[in-house]
């Protein structure tokens, strides 16, 4: 018995010692594991812990404003308010919604959507109750927040265009990022509410306007709830774009164009190339795009026969008609095929082989020199001049004046127009150039197509003799109070000064001499007098049979078939600076020609431009707003 106890005791001691040793070994393993995790692998796990808890959130920078030359905002950021509800703070949802409904309208649809969103989201995620609250609605909710647990107001910035459709095509609009915009590597594009420029300056200078993203490092818990902000790095706000535009003049031009159904006008400062105004009417409301168009709104826009979405100033291609004649004249003088004194007789028509080409004046102009040809816009004079010069020399001259190729204005959508050559026709149609086509081209018909911006550029180059290039963005920022801008150094066109002078004199006569086609649109104040050239561009061929029956009155023809009315002008004649080109599609409401419809528009716009010139401006009158309010 005792022996048994002793052996049993010894065995237990031995076994207990073994067990204790085993336990110590395992405890050592635990300590070693702790050391491995917390010392050897500490950095790796510390990094993973930070990855767990730290989220990088993008902060969208405010988009840069777009302002005119005097700093008047054309595109800015307007605060919008929305009411949001955090479900976990709200308590009884139904009574909270009822309380909100007493302050701001809340439809049954809204309520259903809110309840659905709350069900689908984590309880701390804010759910939008109402978007785009008015300031009053926002204030009503803010005042009553104590009675509305969980309801709060969120402020966001929305793009707004104070001048609406007046500058729509030029400034453009912003809209939500679409799939194809996502190619860039800017993380901002991934933000759900981010907007990017889709047309106009908003598009072409999108990267400047956009700015760079800021970041906010926030600590989140395992459910994604933000616990606190750890660090914030503000982004760079978008750059402010200063345009060469004078918004007062733009508004005036837009108003004049809008009265003519479908029209476009471009005003340039020929000393600098500054685009002072570039209107295309009808237009659209860019703010609607920023907010998101409804299907019906979009349908109405694309189905409108007057094409409000098209910027006719740069995308409209029109036969220039008689406004092309100064180019033909310069080409002929340059080629030496006529002189200032070359007489050409106009019997009212011109025969080439079997074909008969009619002057717009049925009874003919009689014998004329170049100056008279321009003044009366005699077609026969230019048939003969063009025939003598040849299409290729005319085309070469047109190209020097900026026709037939995109000007390179920095907004998207510019068309190149068309200046035909013999080579071009052979290459595109396979048929040789016909001499009759030269005659048509000589009066700006046939294949010749130009945009209003090209026509304005052409006049600016006529007025200066230099290769003026229109520009839309001012590099020197907003204009200072003295407002002076010097001529810029542009390469010379290398055209004989006396030739240019002769053509400008002809254009002077068009407006300022009795018998000139636009004499009715002359300026009475000699200090602000303009010179110009009218044009009426046929949209449709007139057959010989129709001509025999007698030409119908314009208003008897369907609108779509009426001639376009064009006018190009410069002012003041003593020292040309401001130039304007205007195209009224199908002659507008009255169906009149260039001299009757387009010339008064050019005259009024140029008068306005000269009055706003620093030389004429009344001292102490602030820039921008004054004329704008009255205009």
């Amino acid at each position: 018995m005792a022996n048994n106890d002793k052996t049993r005791s010894k065995l237990l001691t031995r076994r207990a010692a073994l067990l204790g040793g085993g336990q110590l070994l395992l405890l050592g393993t635990l300590a070693g594991r702790l050391y491995y995790l917390q010392v050897i692998q500490a950095d790796r796990y510390a990094m993973q812990a930070d990855e767990n808890r730290i989220n990088i959130r993008l902060l969208a920078p405010p988009r840069g404003r777009i302002v005119d030359r005097f700093g008047v905002p054309l595109a800015e950021n307007r605060p919008t308010y929305r009411a949001v509800l955090v479900a976990e703070q709200a308590g009884d949802l139904q009574s909270t919604l009822d309380a909100v409904a007493t302050l701001v309208p809340l439809s049954d649809n809204d309520r259903r959507r809110v309840l659905r969103d709350i069900r689908n989201k984590l309880s701390f995620v804010p759910v939008a109750l109402r978007e785009n609250l008015s300031w009053e609605e926002m204030a009503r909710i803010e005042v009553n927040t104590l009675e509305l647990p969980g309801v709060s107001i969120e402020r966001a910035l929305i793009r707004s265009y104070p001048f609406g459709e007046t500058s729509a095509h030029l400034v453009g609009y912003v809209a939500a990022v679409s799939e194809k915009d996502l190619s860039g590597d800017d993380p901002l594009l991934e933000l759900p509410d981010f907007r990017i420029g889709k047309s106009g300056v908003e598009k072409s200078y999108d990267l400047n306007l956009r700015g760079t993203a800021g970041t906010s490092q926030v600590e989140v818990n395992a459910f994604g709830r933000v616990v606190r902000e750890l660090a914030r790095e503000d982004g760079m706000p978008g750059q402010e774009m200063v345009l060469t535009l004078d918004m007062a003049l733009q508004a005036y031009a837009a108003k004049r164009c809008a009265a003519e159904q479908s029209a476009a006008a471009v005003v340039l400062d020929s000393w600098t190339g500054d685009v002072l105004a570039m209107a295309s009417m009808p237009a659209y409301d860019p703010s609607a795009f920023a907010a998101g168009l409804t299907g019906a709104q979009w349908k109405a826009l694309i189905e409108n026969p007057l094409n409000p979405l098209t910027d006719k100033a740069i995308s409209g291609s029109y036969p220039p008609g008689s406004t092309f004649k100064p180019i033909v004249a310069l080409a002929a003088l340059d080629a030496g095929v006529i002189t200032p004194d070359t007489h050409i007789f106009c019997p009212g028509h011109y025969e080439l082989g079997d074909a008969k080409f009619h002057c717009w004046k049925h009874d003919g102009h009689g014998s004329m020199v170049l100056r008279d040809g321009l003044k009366h816009s005699c077609d026969v004079f230019f048939f003969e001049t063009a025939r003598r010069t040849g299409i290729d020399r005319i085309a070469a001259m047109a190209k020097r004046f900026g026709l037939g190729a995109p000007i390179g204005i920095d907004i998207p959508g510019e068309r190149s127009g068309l200046i035909p050559t013999t080579g071009w026709k052979k290459a595109t149609t396979g048929i040789a150039w016909q001499q009759g086509e030269t005659l048509s081209a000589g009066i700006g018909q046939s294949y010749v197509l130009t945009t209003p911006l090209q026509l304005a550029t052409m006049v600016a180059r006529l007025a200066t003799g230099h290769e003026i290039v229109p520009r839309l963005v001012r590099e020197d920022g907003v204009m200072t109070q003295d407002g002076g801008t010097d001529r810029i150094e542009a390469p010379s066109l290398n055209i004989a000064a006396k030739d240019l002078k002769l053509v400008l004199e002809g254009m002077y006569a068009v407006v300022n001499e009795q018998g000139g086609t636009a004499y009715a649109a002359r300026v009475m104040d000699p200090a602000m007098a303009m010179g110009g050239k009218s044009g009426s561009a046929q949209v449709r061929h007139i057959t010989e049979a129709e001509r025999d029956r007698g030409l119908p009155k314009a208003l008897q023809v369907p609108w779509k078939d009426r001639d376009h009315a064009l006018f190009i002008a410069f002012a003041p004649v003593t020292n040309p600076r401001y130039v304007c080109a205007c195209v009224v599609e199908h002659g507008g409401a009255s169906g009149g020609g260039g001299s009757a419809v387009a010339a008064p528009i050019c005259r009024d716009i140029l008068l306005e431009a000269q009055k706003r010139d620093p030389v004429h401006r009344v001292p102490d009158q602030p820039y921008g707003s004054a004329t704008l309010a009255s205009g």
Binding site: L26, L27, L34, A42, Q48, A49, E219
Partner: protein
């Protein structure tokens, strides 16, 4: 070789017994419990509610229970061992039947003050009954295989029941603690080898009884990075929390993993993770050191005891506590699969606290009655 007359020391008064408890052990237990309160306070983001205050009250009650257990005569525990085991087994079967009838997955009996989990109590009851059984066997009897069948049933019956619950952790603890008792009782080495071999044969069969989520836990343990957001999430997040604690920790109440809820069950099974995150390697080692001191106390108490039952009981309780600590910490460190075993005295939970303190009460009882000699069967 003493005579049968001096097999017992004179009976002590209750007061004397209370004064003779092991104060060092009590101090150690209180120190660990206080660390537990601090961690629960942190887990509630610096609030006594809902965990720390309740836990403190439970610890207070448990100390009273421990004292009571310690002052009861060791012979009482020897005599009642079978009854206690049988009662606990009945409770275990009762909740099993209740669960099977469709009362849901309730594995506890509501006593009002605490919800009693029989499986938790069984951990101690099993050790108690094995100590009772083996204390009566002579070395010769232990060599007979037939004598090993009853104790084997005492282990595998409850282990099988909790495995069915399914509670992998408790089943593991019961089996390992039972095995340790067999080992201490002097069962031959080769029998363990045979058992292990047989067990190895059973694994494929047992595997079929495992629930999918248990299988997943084992898969996940084998390759935790495989599914970081799914089944491996707990294990991975726990390792991240411990590792990111570094040498000195992130500071009290500053554990980002725990406080941002990346850590699951931070107040119960994963509380060691939070401690290691906030107090670093140093905190973890200090706590493991305190536990080690308790184990040393357990061994010392066993060797001071003059009765074979007392020694087996004290050692069994020590092994049991060791298994709690080892399985829990090894699990949160990613050394073994995720199983539900609490960290004694620290994890929030009533039954575990009561069970653990009941166990230490028995250990204390062995200490108080260290000079008591017991004959076979508890009769003097």
């Amino acid at each position: 070789m003493h005579s049968a007359l001096d097999t017992s020391v004179p009976r002590q008064s209750i007061l004397l017994k209370l004064l003779s408890i092991n104060w060092g052990l009590l101090l150690l237990l209180s120190a660990i419990a206080c660390i537990g309160f601090a961690m629960l306070y942190s887990a509630a983001n610096g609030h006594w509610d809902p965990w720390a205050s309740k836990q403190a009250v439970r610890f207070g009650i448990s100390i009273v229970v421990m004292m009571a257990v310690a002052t009861v005569d060791l012979r009482f525990w020897l005599r009642s061992a079978y009854a206690i085991y049988a009662g606990t087994l009945l409770l275990l079967i009762a909740v099993e039947v209740k669960g099977a009838i469709g009362m849901g997955a309730q594995r506890w009996i509501d006593l009002g003050v605490i919800q009693l989990q029989p499986s938790e109590l069984m951990k101690i009851a099993c050790v108690l009954v094995l100590a009772r059984y083996f204390s009566t066997l002579t070395p010769d009897e232990i060599k007979r295989p037939l004598r090993l069948i009853p104790p084997a049933l005492m282990v595998f019956l409850p282990a099988g029941l909790v495995m069915k619950q399914p509670d992998l952790g408790t089943a593991m603890m019961l089996t390992l603690a039972g095995g340790a008792m067999f080992f201490l009782a002097g069962v031959r080495w080769w029998k363990f080898v045979v058992l292990l071999a047989a067990g190895g044969g059973i694994v494929p069969v047992a595997w079929r009884f495992l629930r999918d989520y248990q299988k997943n836990r084992i898969y996940t343990f084998l390759d935790p990075e495989n599914d970081p957001l799914g089944a491996g999430y707990h294990s991975l997040q726990s390792k991240i929390a411990i590792g990111s604690g570094g040498m000195f920790g992130k500071g009290f109440m500053n554990g980002s993993q725990a406080h941002l809820n990346f850590l699951p069950e931070k107040q119960t099974d994963f509380i060691f993770t939070m401690l290691a995150e906030e107090w670093g390697l140093m905190g973890g080692l200090v706590l493991l050191g305190l536990y080690t001191l308790i184990f040393i106390y357990g061994f010392a108490i066993a060797f001071r005891s003059r009765s074979h039952f007392g020694r087996l009981l004290a050692l069994g309780i020590t092994v049991n506590m060791f298994l709690y600590v080892f399985i829990n910490t090894a699990m949160v460190m990613g050394l073994i699969p995720v199983v539900g075993v609490p960290l004694p005295l620290i994890s929030y939970g009533g039954t575990a606290m009561l069970t653990v303190m009941f166990g230490f009460g028995l250990m204390m009882c062995v200490y108080v009655h260290r000079d008591t000699r017991l004959g076979r069967g508890g009769d003097e």
